[in-house]
Amino acid sequence: MFTRHERLKSAYDVVIIGAGGHGLAAAYYLARDHGMTDVAVLDKGYIGGGNTGRNTSIIRSNYLTPEGVKFYDESIRLWRDLSQDFDLNLFYSTRGHFTLAHTDSAMRTMRWRAEVNKHFGVQSEAIDAKAVAEAIPMMDLSCGGHGSPVLGALFHPPGAIARHDAVAWGYGRGADRRGVEIHQDTQVLGVELEDRGSGPAVAGVRTNRGRIATRKLLCAVAGSTPGVLALVGLRSPIYIHPLQAMVSEPLKPWLDPIIVSGSLHVYVSQSARGELVMGASLDPYELHSTRSTLDFAESLSMHMLELFPFLSDVKVVRQWAGMADMTPDFAPIMGKTPVRGFYLDSGWGTWGFKATPVCGKTMSYTVATDEDHPLIRGFAFDRFARYALTGEKGAASVGH
């Protein structure tokens, strides 16, 4: 499926660190839309082995800020055409997405999100408990009497799921066929900087397989971002917490929509294989590891049973974790940085999968033209120094 390259060349026009969905999408659009094919994508592990293959594969655009809504809606438009673009089945499946509200204040937030969404032409509406019961009759709206009952929901019809590995493979194959080199098992050990008259600028990277000269370096490494930033002498507000997920044994299809409850820390959908794919909230403290915990499986199972008590005999068959690169305002950090030629696609925390296509589009534009794409200007690296935070409270796994 991919060309295996024996050795690295001594120089490339662009080097991308991270062969996940974001890095490969940027490589794909650089080659397809900007005619830049002298590109190397480096990964210390394997294609799609990071958060691309560790998320719960949910795609939606019902965010709260105008920046977020416009950005994710563009991503959804790109998603719908990808299977054609790649000639590869992504199993993109539109399911409808329900964010449950258990309190009056959560209902108010849902109405707010619905209004922001509708204003930008995104389908979303706040619905009451009766409408939730009609849409999801198998759910116990009283939550077993253990917590606050479901009062209503934000209903987002375009909510979808897709096969996440295939996204990385599709972008990777499309880039590979256009001449981009993908080098797995290739770790970046250092970044060489020089001053060409306007402050520090990228001159090359040192890897475990030799040195590469380049003037454009894109970092798309999710939970490993702080380590790469340290190589170029930058500090950021990014903090790393694990995000865990798990799947049940396969069941006959019974759950069509995607269900999210911020209060119960549950999100769940049923995959094409029949497995329930379940996630909860971030682990409560910093950790640079993808270990799983029993605490997580226990507490998520408990909350799942509050909504779906009939699942009490169903087995959990796998659990895993990814390292989420979180930011204080739950919005990404994208675009140019104080180091010339060093471009960042980071801060994707718990919400990066759905943004894969639009990140590739906007970052390839930014790398090719050395100008931040208009859609990412609200996510600039220097927004913290300007005290101009974005405040995206529609993010997953975030209490609000």
């Binding site: 971002t225 702080p226 380590g227 340290a230 500090r235 950021s236 507000p237 990014i238 903090y239 790393i240 409560p284 403290y285 910093e286 950790l287 640079h288 590891s289 270990r291 915990t293 029993l294 605490d295 204080p328 913290f384 120094a385 005290y387």
Partner: protein, 89 residues
């Protein structure tokens, strides 16, 4: 269940504790430059390694310091802030 050793209450289940972030020195607000203050407010050292962190035993309200490796999740030692090793304790 992971166990953390509270300096007052002894070994307790991790679920009894809450995390307070890395132990950091606040620059003097009257003397710090805008850049220094912004760095203190927003930026974090998120490179994996051994760090001193604030933790709280929630059920008794005891705040203390843990020295923890954030790559392996191994806690090297815990102590009260007033008893910080190297501070004459």
């Amino acid at each position: 269940m992971k166990i953390l050793n509270c300096p007052i209450n002894g070994p307790r289940a991790m679920s009894e504790f809450s995390y307070g972030g890395e132990l950091r020195e606040m620059p003097d607000p009257a003397l710090a430059t805008d850049a220094e203050w912004t760095d203190y407010v927003f930026n974090r050292n998120s490179v994996p390694g051994i760090k001193r962190e604030w933790w709280c035993h929630a059920s008794s309200g005891v705040w203390f310091i843990a020295e923890r490796d954030t790559a392996s999740d191994v806690v090297l030692r815990t102590f009260l802030h007033s008893n910080a090793p190297g501070d004459g304790a």
